[in-house]
């Protein structure tokens, strides 16, 4: 019911907006700000489709109220550079594509936090980004390729 002015950066650009208390971050991004690359899947923080970065780390935007990102830097799939996307294409890191935005945002967060991530760390950070086409091997190869190309 209460309204809140929030300010944050989205992919580097300043956002200054007012939201109702119950507005979820995923809905703010998709419906108010038009960033539809972020998907809403399970809506309970399990599937990883709605993964965004907040101050560089991965979060489920379906589990956050928009008020919780006040003062932070938010990055969505629209704000990634093309290196990872190219690696996903070259390694067959997707099939149907529904999980791809979340996979990319999570992988980008990993390579920011750990540029020399081991294959085990790649697998650990992939956990929780579900791919029902069973494309995990291709996704892991793509992340490793992007890591090695940096």
């Amino acid at each position: 019911m209460s309204a809140h002015r929030i300010r944050f950066t989205l992919n580097g650009a300043a956002v200054d907006t007012t939201v109702p208390a119950e507005r979820l971050l995923v809905d703010l991004l998709r419906y108010d700000l038009g960033k539809t690359g972020t998907k809403d899947g399970c809506s309970i923080g399990v599937c990883g489709l709605c993964t965004v970065q907040i101050d560089g780390m991965p979060f489920s935007s379906c589990l956050l109220f928009a008020t919780q990102v006040n003062g932070t830097a938010v990055r969505t799939v629209e704000g990634l550079s093309s290196l990872l996307q190219e690696a996903f294409t070259l390694e067959g890191g997707f099939q149907c594509g529904i999980c791809t935005s979340g996979q990319l945002v999570a992988a980008d967060a990993l390579l920011r936090a750990k540029p020399d991530a081991t294959d085990a760390e790649i697998a650990d950070w992939q956990m929780g980004n579900l791919c029902r086409c069973t494309g995990y091997y291709g996704i892991a190869r793509a992340i490793a390729r992007a890591r090695d190309a940096r």
Partner: protein, 283 residues
């Protein structure tokens, strides 16, 4: 999602006053991972949500007076990476790292975890075995609650209306103490434990057990201490018969809830198996 009013106090005192204004219809939010789901599913319908995110002092992790103090707003990720946590017990850091996925660990907090009182959660088990004490404050003062008195029932704590959980304190371990956390995960690595066991032991120079703590998760409506099993070890060498005897006592202490992870009988049997494995790890 039903509409509600959101407050974001800048100080703990202000948060306590706001909560006292409306103890029945207000809820406190730390990370929000559990609260948001409860609200989405309409299981709780708060008129007001009091967000704690601006109260930075509640994030602190350190050893101010000898005890390791873990702030209620410290995230699982921060606790898993914390040098003071690792120095206290590597098993404690790995317990926080065993929760869910990296996304959840960055958002979910220690205080939220404990206040949610999910009996299958990981951190309460290891914190129980480390003799953790919760510290809560209301407008009327501060209260220390040993963790086994904090968990009252399934998803219920003994926190009073108007109280906010501030931190968990862990006393220094006996010299040479060894600790482990064993999580039985037959499905996927990001699942809740079917059962889990934390064990902490210390032995004297001749190998006789002087200190034993065994705690179990997923083994009842609350995280449990297996006190009889603990007592059976003290004064004995941690050899095969003692370990198997303690594991049987630990299994007998459980009161598991049947769910998709197994029947009550299966979980009780697994509690024995994993207690034995935990004790062999630290023996």
């Amino acid at each position: 999602m039903r509409p509600f009013d959101y407050l974001e106090p800048e100080t703990l005192d202000e948060a306590l006053v706001r909560l006292a204004d409306d103890p029945d219809d207000a809820v406190v939010m730390a990370g929000g991972t559990s609260l948001v789901i409860l609200m989405k599913q309409d299981l709780i319908r708060p008129a007001r949500v009091i967000g704690l995110r601006r109260i930075g002092e509640l994030r602190a992790i350190g050893t101010p007076e000898g005890n390791l103090s873990l702030g209620a707003l410290a995230t699982h990720g921060a606790l898993a990476r914390s040098q003071p946590v690792r120095a206290h017990a590597a098993a404690l850091a790995s317990t926080f790292a065993a929760v869910a996925t990296v996304r959840i660990r960055e958002q979910a907090t220690l205080g939220g975890n404990l206040a949610h009182a999910d009996p299958a959660q990981d951190p309460p088990v290891t914190l129980l075995a480390l003799d953790g004490v919760a510290v809560a404050r209301s407008r009327f003062g501060e209260r220390r609650i040993p963790l086994d008195a904090l968990f009252a029932d399934l998803f219920e704590t003994s926190l009073e209306p108007g109280e906010i959980l501030l931190r968990v304190e862990l006393p220094p371990l006996p010299a040479g103490a060894r600790a482990t956390y064993q999580k039985f995960l037959p499905r996927t690595l990001d699942d809740y434990a079917t059962v889990s066991v934390a064990a902490v032991v210390a032995t004297d120079a001749s190998g006789v057990c002087t200190h034993a703590r065994i705690a179990l998760g997923g083994a009842g409506p609350v995280p449990l201490r297996a006190r009889e099993a603990e007592r059976s070890l003290v004064g004995h060498r941690l050899e095969d018969a003692a370990i198997r005897g303690a594991a049987a006592l630990a299994a007998a202490a459980t009161d598991p809830i049947a769910d998709l992870r197994g029947s009550a009988a299966y979980k009780r049997a697994m509690a024995g198996v994993w207690t034995e494995r935990a004790l062999r790890e630290v023996a």
